[in-house]
């Protein structure tokens, strides 16, 4: 049936034609930049000059032997682990509260999203002002209340990482809250009824009913927030500007940025971002081995 074959061929070409724009977009905006970045990592290239020199694995050899690189990896890990853990605690706690019905709970659900909605630059600068040692409201209040053990300056080498973590938890915990709250609202109430009939206390209901039901959501949130916090650039940069006290929060993304745009080493910066990608891929692999995707719970 030559007519039938010809029509099928035309349809195939038509289908390819429809796919082509998407393929081109992915190639242009995803694969090409990633490929170019990998390629650039093999060159010594000054950011201001169009010329470059092939150095093979030279950039990677220097990175692995550089104590500043390993320090930035450590700081990024501390930041990612600390802020993600606290975001999950705060998000779950907030979601459990907002899951209850009480006067004003709808209003509070809206307000809880506020930190996540405001631009990062605003959030960071507001926190810089709040924590400023000369005129910040928080140091002033703590000083007035004579709280013992309060540092003389929060935005200093010893404590700026804490400020960064607390600020990030405040800004990003609503993401956890919204996801957990959405899942809480779909847990069948019969599960709680059954638990209560069995005499389970509120704590045991949480441990044996709520947490297992939240498992998949929490694992996804943990993965996403962990990746996002490890690669987070804007918050540590705006809080510390990469130097001064900000030296103590020079995480891997900030270190990478500085190599590219303050040392003008575009090739080294590209190599560092490739290393960052490799570190994340390793972490994600470990994550999936530790937490294999579970079968979807039977909600019915």
């Amino acid at each position: 049936m030559p007519g039938h074959a010809s029509r099928r061929r035309r349809e195939a070409w038509f289908g390819i034609g429809l796919l082509l724009p998407s393929v081109l977009l992915v190639l242009t905006f995803t694969l090409f930049p990633v490929g170019y970045n990998v390629w650039l990592g093999f060159f010594a290239k000054h950011s201001l000059r169009a010329t470059s020199t092939w150095v093979g694995l030279g950039n990677y050899a220097q990175i692995l032997g550089d104590p500043d690189f390993w320090r930035s990896v450590w700081l990024a890990t501390v930041y990612a682990v600390g802020s993600t853990t606290l975001q999950i605690f705060a998000g779950v706690a907030g979601a459990l509260i907002l899951h209850q019905r009480f006067a004003g709970c709808d209003f509070l659900r809206g307000v809880a999203l506020f930190p996540y909605m405001i631009p990062t630059v605003i959030a960071v600068f507001v926190w810089r002002w709040l924590m400023n040692d000369l005129y910040g409201v928080i140091p002033y209040m703590l000083g007035t209340l004579h709280v013992p053990g309060v540092p003389a300056a929060w935005l200093s080498h010893g404590t700026i990482m804490w400020v960064l973590i607390i600020l990030s938890v405040w800004t990003f915990f609503p993401f956890v809250l919204v996801n957990v709250l959405a899942r809480l609202q779909t847990i069948p109430p019969e599960l709680y009824d059954a638990a209560r009939v069995d005499g389970a206390s509120a704590v045991r209901q949480f441990v044996h009913v709520t947490l297992p039901q939240l498992r998949n959501v929490l694992l996804i949130v943990l993965l996403l927030r962990g990746i996002w916090m490890f690669t987070k650039f804007d918050v540590p940069w705006l809080l510390g500007f990469g130097g001064g006290a900000g030296e103590a929060i020079r995480t891997l993304p900030v270190f990478t940025y500085q190599r590219s745009f303050t040392y003008y080493q575009a090739g080294m910066g590209a190599a560092l971002s490739n290393v960052m990608l490799a570190l994340l891929l390793m972490a994600v692999t470990v994550y999936f081995i530790a937490f294999p995707p579970a079968e979807e719970e039977n909600d019915a």
């Binding site: 201001l48 300056a153 080498h157 500007f241 006290a245």
Partner: protein, 464 residues
Amino acid sequence: MDLQRLVRERKEGSLDRRQFLARLGATAAGATAASVVSGARPAGAQKKVTVTMWDTEPNPATRAAVKAIVEDFHKLHKDIEIRAEGMGWGDMDRKLQAAMAAKSPPAASHTQTYVVTSFRAKGLIEPVDDVVKAIGEDKIFPSVLRWLKYPDGKYWGITHAWGAEIFGGRGDYLTGTGVNPQSWKTWDDLLRDLPKLNKPPQYYALSLAGIPFFVNEDVYMWAGANGGSVFDAKGQPALESPQVLGMLEFWKKLKPNLPPGWASHDYLETLSAWATGKTASVLMWGRTAGYIDQYAPPDKRNPDVFQVWPKTTGPMGKAPLTQFDNEPWVIYADAPADEKAATREFLKFFFKPENYRRYCDSVPVHILSIFKADFQDASYLNHPDRKRWKPWLDAQLKWVEIGRAHPLLVSNPSDMLIPWIGDVAASPILADMVMAVVERGKDPKAAAKEASDKIVRDIIGKAK
């Protein structure tokens, strides 16, 4: 075939769907081509040159002044369109990097003096001798011109305006302390009296910025005031020299007199802290007058309260050193030739006295005129702000006259020729060295060696 006819034929059934779509496409393409042809410039018509210029004066008053100058220029040069855009230094750096990497820079921009050396070494900019000569070489302060004239005898930039850093102190905080800052000559004098001006938590004796760019400023100024430099005669780092190590020891001794969070303070925070009375002294520029008018109590907005105090000399130095804000216009080599020519025309127009005065008056105590005669001209000096802050103006002028105002990272004049000086200034290496010593208690020798090694490995080594 027009659209209506196509639609009619399709409705009548004389065209099937494919034929209709094909002819619709052909009609649209034809119409586009016709519009392009009809819109094309007639042969012989004069081409309008559009010039992009980036400057670092984004404040509204200066924008208004620049806009007025550009509009006047357009009246005389209808074939040239100047697009003048103001932005902060940080934005300028990023935009320039992206534009230059793409070999598509603006025609001209402001930059730092030391960057001229780097750009010149990389072949990124062109000389501006014709502009300097048109303005009048002999009319400009020699100490303004000297930093942009290189051993090849050419000017590689033209300063848009200048300013010198001064040491500001609160006169009202001296009462009852027995401190007379005007008697200060040496670092020891300063270190002896600063504790008397330190009354935490009400206020601290000295405000310094901890952000790398501003730490760099203090590093080279104090190294220079201690008779040293960040670089040796061959351009290699001289951070392990006694003069630089002395500077680090000096910084350690200053620390008890600084706000506890100084390492996170931005430059503007130091100015507002001084204006609001949180610190007794600060390293500052004429622009600070604006902060005083904004934040200080009305009865204190004068140079009797916000005084100029002398800068001091280190034990190994002969004279103090201050920072010279001598930011030039540079013209980029990669810009099209017609745009570069138009830029030169605009700069000559910009520096005509009647235009340039409008620019300088937009920030009267900070954007200071490059013309010597202006400082003898009553109409310039009698501007209300310049009159009110005359001691500040005089102090800046004195620095220029004695030749001890040097651009960023230039402790010795020969440092200007070091091709990687701009790269060192942009990196956080020097600031890390200071923080290691002052904030983390590292031995100055070890911190200086680590910083030297980084400069050699990461900057000089990469420049080869």
